[in-house]
């Protein structure tokens, strides 16, 4: 039997990523053709800004999904953190920087709570985070009796929502967080453990990986990033809304899954998630530029998401790359299961 010519996996990852990158490129090009103002620097910057919150939440969710879990509480965490930090600053007179740290800590704590429910009580992640989703949301309401917090200190807004060398701070944050997440996932023992747990919990466990710790850490990360997103949200709208985070639940998960995260676990791509968020951002923006009526906007968005991911799938679908992703595909190649 001839020795392998080159690593199929490397190749596969590239092509996969290319798949969704390609889809993204096509979307941007089409919008660019349809609307002259779409591909202007200013507008692209707006898209990046609009995508940043989904991107940050999506990155955390990506880790969770890789372990085979799901986090439905990210939206509520973002709301809660925003409300708490804002209250501290406005009512408590806490310094912006400090409030920011407090906020992230609250996010981490909420996430860790999810992790403990899942590992200690052995709850399915869907249920655990569905429950905490409504608990955290409730806490956000209770904190301010459901009222929004206005008059956010300008320093705080500047901190997260200004420009550095013409680049919006939050875009820089996304970039930095993205790189860190990539390193964490691909270049640390923790990252390897995350992938192992998602690939086969049993194997990871028997190899001496502390599965529970990994899971708690992953949910804490997801909570922390959701918290960060909540703070950015506050800075964006100069206010903390008790439900501010809820719209991002589905879209953030969507960003991750569009980017190639496999809800069955074991797979997910940092770059992919970022592209996923960008695609969603570009859609909202582009459809407004084209002034597509609200009703049709929904239809188009849905169709584009489907087509984009279909392209991604087909990129993986040429024979060489058949095996790989989704449960189906794993199934789709018996020999790999039959081998030895």
């Amino acid at each position: 039997m001839s020795t392998p010519t080159r690593s199929p996996r490397r190749l596969r990852v590239n092509v996969q990523t290319l798949g969704i990158f390609g889809a993204a490129a096509i979307i941007f090009i089409i919008f660019g053709i349809l609307s002259p103002s779409f591909l202007t620097i200013g507008n692209l910057r707006d898209i990046a800004v609009a995508a940043s919150i989904n991107a940050i939440i999506g990155l955390g969710v990506t880790f969770v999904i890789i372990t085979g879990g799901i986090d439905l509480s990210v939206g509520s965490i973002a709301s809660l953190v925003g409300i708490v930090a804002a209250t501290f600053m406005v009512s408590g007179g806490v310094a912006p920087i400090l409030a920011l740290l407090i906020g992230i800590v609250v996010g981490l704590a909420c996430g860790a709570a999810n992790g403990l429910l899942i590992t200690r009580l052995k709850l399915p992640p869907f249920i655990a985070t569905l429950g905490t989703m409504s608990v955290f949301q409730g806490l956000a309401y209770v904190t301010t009796d459901g009222k929004p917090v206005y008059n956010i200190p300008p320093e705080f807004v500047l901190l997260l929502n200004s420009y550095v060398g013409g680049i919006p701070v939050m875009v820089i944050i996304v970039a930095v967080v993205g790189v860190l997440c990539w390193l964490l996932l691909r270049r640390t023992v923790f990252g390897e453990n995350v992938i192992a747990v998602g690939g086969s919990e049993e194997t990871a466990w028997l190899s001496g990986i502390r599965v529970n710790r990994v899971k708690v850490a992953v949910y804490a990360l997801s909570g922390g990033l959701a918290g960060l997103a909540g703070l950015i949200l506050v800075a964006r709208i100069n206010a903390a809304q008790t439900e501010g985070g809820s719209p991002y639940l589905l879209t953030a998960i969507a960003a991750a899954v569009i980017g190639g995260a496999n809800l069955m676990g074991g797979e997910g791509r940092i770059a992919g998630t970022l592209v996923g968020a960008l695609i969603l951002g570009a859609l909202t923006n582009g459809l407004v530029l084209l002034n597509v009526p609200s009703f049709y906007e929904q239809i188009v968005t849905g169709l584009v998401v489907i087509i984009a991911v279909a392209l991604d799938q087909s990129a993986k679908d040429w024979p060489m790359l058949k095996r790989g992703k989704s449960k189906d595909d794993v199934a789709a190649t018996p020999v790999q299961e039959l081998a030895g």
Binding site: M1, S2, T3, P4, T5, R6, S7, P8, R9, R10, L183, R187, T188, V189, F190, E192, N193, I195, A196, G199, S200, E202, T203, A204, W205, L206, S207, G208, I209, R210, G266, E267, M320, R323, G324, V330, P334, V335, Q336, E337, L338, A339, G340
Partner: protein, 499 residues
């Protein structure tokens, strides 16, 4: 007259691997034909093509003179071809009965009303008792294999392929099963393709043999006209020198590994296991006698197990596989695919899975290069094929996957190695390599425990053999007492082994 099954020039390649390269042979009705070959020779791939789950790049398959056009499992089943998978293809969530009739239309079920009872009966004949309503999740691997074999004959198939059907069974079970298979073949005049790495049973059951080597069929013969040596020689392409134990017997060596008061929720009886430095302790016993549980309890793999671990007289706090890893205990589990490997990631990543910080460079950043180098070096010593640790674990054949699981621990180094069925599904050549590996570990002074259903294996490796029954040690044998008769007797409880 034409052969029932004609395989002609079948070729199949996977990324970077030519699995099959022009395989050609016939099988007649009423014939049991063994397909022999090393791990990775292409046996399962060939069967996958026969079963329609893979489409060949070239070549053709003809059944009853009808050339197969479409390749899909449905088509193959319609043609009367059934493949009993190497990995029992059962649905744990369904009952035995449901797993027998799975995929059959209501009409088909009506045609063969007695199918389920037939399968249950056959399983009994094979020495496995079960009921139609038993959920498959409750069956042991051996029982699952028996079920997969028995059901293959249930719906009047013409060609049945059995891919390593007895890997989880003890000799006498396997013998019984294959005996039944022979009967059925004679009764119904079906053709059986048989894949196994256990040469004795190959010689016993088959009428003829086809040897695959590097994806080509290298040899075809009637069993009567050939010999085990001949076949093995054709498989590995060279004279295969057998395994002889080299690690020195050190009856006076100090106890290196001691596990006391070991309990598993499924077998509450407390057990004590002590292994000397450089000693290989074999553990024999019937399926379900609690051997795997013993090992799992030692490394605390299951919630609710207890015990005390001491290594070189020093007590270690072992509460989960992690602490057991840190204590220097290596556990090579029975089901490599599910418990030993993450199939969709590269081999080197699997091997590095047992690392704490060994591959860190600056701070927490790990170096893939180091991982790859380490993995490569480790696996070279085991002649891994394909010798490329960048390939995903799933791209390796069974035997080679087993080497990966062992490499997971050897690079790290441990003082105690717990092997559960270390050569399950490994070819003759591979076995010898793994035996040598175990032997080497022993001579390096490590303590070794080998749980195996393969008695010759236990016998040739072990300095001492413990026999388990119903979760207890019922016998301990050394030196000349270690032989099939005594072990089987003790395992089945006919004669009490001397303490």
């Amino acid at each position: 007259m034409n052969a029932l099954l004609q395989i002609e020039g079948i070729a199949k390649s996977f990324p970077g691997v030519r699995a099959l390269d022009g395989v050609t042979f016939d099988v007649n009705a009423g014939e049991i034909c063994t397909i022999a070959g090393e791990n990775g020779a292409g046996k399962s791939t060939l069967l996958a093509i026969l079963g329609g789950s893979l489409t060949p790049d070239r070549g053709s398959i003809t059944i009853d003179g009808v050339r197969r056009e479409e390749y899909s499992p449905r088509r193959a089943l319609a043609d009367g071809i059934v493949i009993a998978q190497q990995e029992p293809a059962v649905v744990p969530q369904l009952t035995v009965a449901q797993n027998v009739t799975i995929g059959k239309s209501r009409a088909q079920r009506k045609q063969v009303p007695g199918a389920v009872d037939g399968v249950i009966a056959d399983m009994n004949r094979m020495g496995f008792e079960t009921t139609p309503s038993t959920p498959v999740s409750k069956l042991s691997p051996a029982e699952r294999q028996a079920l997969t074999i028995a059901r293959a004959f249930a719906f009047g198939a013409k060609v049945i392929a059995l891919d390593e059907p007895t890997t989880s069974m003890l000799e006498h079970n396997a013998a019984q099963v294959l005996e039944r298979v022979r009967e059925i073949v004679q009764e119904r005049g079906v053709a059986v393709l048989f894949v196994s790495h256990k040469m004795p049973e190959v010689m016993r059951v088959s009428d003829s043999v086809v040897v695959l080597r590097d994806g080509k069929n290298a040899y075809r013969a009637e069993i009567a006209q050939t010999s085990e040596q001949e076949i093995v020689q054709k498989m590995v392409g060279r004279e295969l020198l057998g395994f002889t134990r080299e690690h020195p017997m050190k009856p006076d060596a100090a106890v290196r590994f001691e596990a006391t008061d070991v309990r598993h929720p499924k077998h509450p009886a407390p057990l004590r296991l002590a292994v000397r430095a450089g000693e290989v302790v074999g553990i024999a016993g019937l399926v379900g006698s609690g051997r795997t549980e013993l090992l799992r309890a030692i490394v605390r793999a299951d919630h609710g197990s207890t015990g005390h671990i001491a290594i070189d007289g020093k007590p270690f706090r072992v509460v989960d596989p992690h602490t057991s890893r840190s204590a220097g205990i290596a556990f090579i589990p029975e089901e490599r695919k599910r418990q030993g490997l993450v199939l969709q990631i590269p081999a080197y990543a699997n091997i590095a899975m047992t690392a704490d910080h060994q591959f860190n460079t600056v701070g927490p950043v790990v170096s893939k290069k180091r991982e790859i180098d380490t993995a490569t070096i480790q696996t070279q010593g085991m002649s891994l094929r394909p010798a490329n640790v960048r390939l995903n674990a799933r791209q390796f054949s069974g035997g080679n996957q087993q080497k990966l699981v062992i490499a997971k621990w050897t690079w790290r180094g441990a003082s105690v190695y717990l092997f559960d069925e270390p050569t399950k599904g490994v070819d003759v050549g591979g076995r010898v390599e793994i035996y040598r590996l175990i032997d080497r570990l022993a001579s390096e002074g490590h303590s070794i425990v080998v749980v195996s259903s393969d008695l010759p294996e236990v016998i040739s490796l072990s300095d001492r053999v413990l026999v388990m029954r119903a979760g207890r040690f019922v016998g301990s044998f050394e030196g000349d007492d270690i032989n099939e008769q005594t072990l089987v007797a003790s395992a089945m409880g006919v004669a009490e082994g001397q303490k």
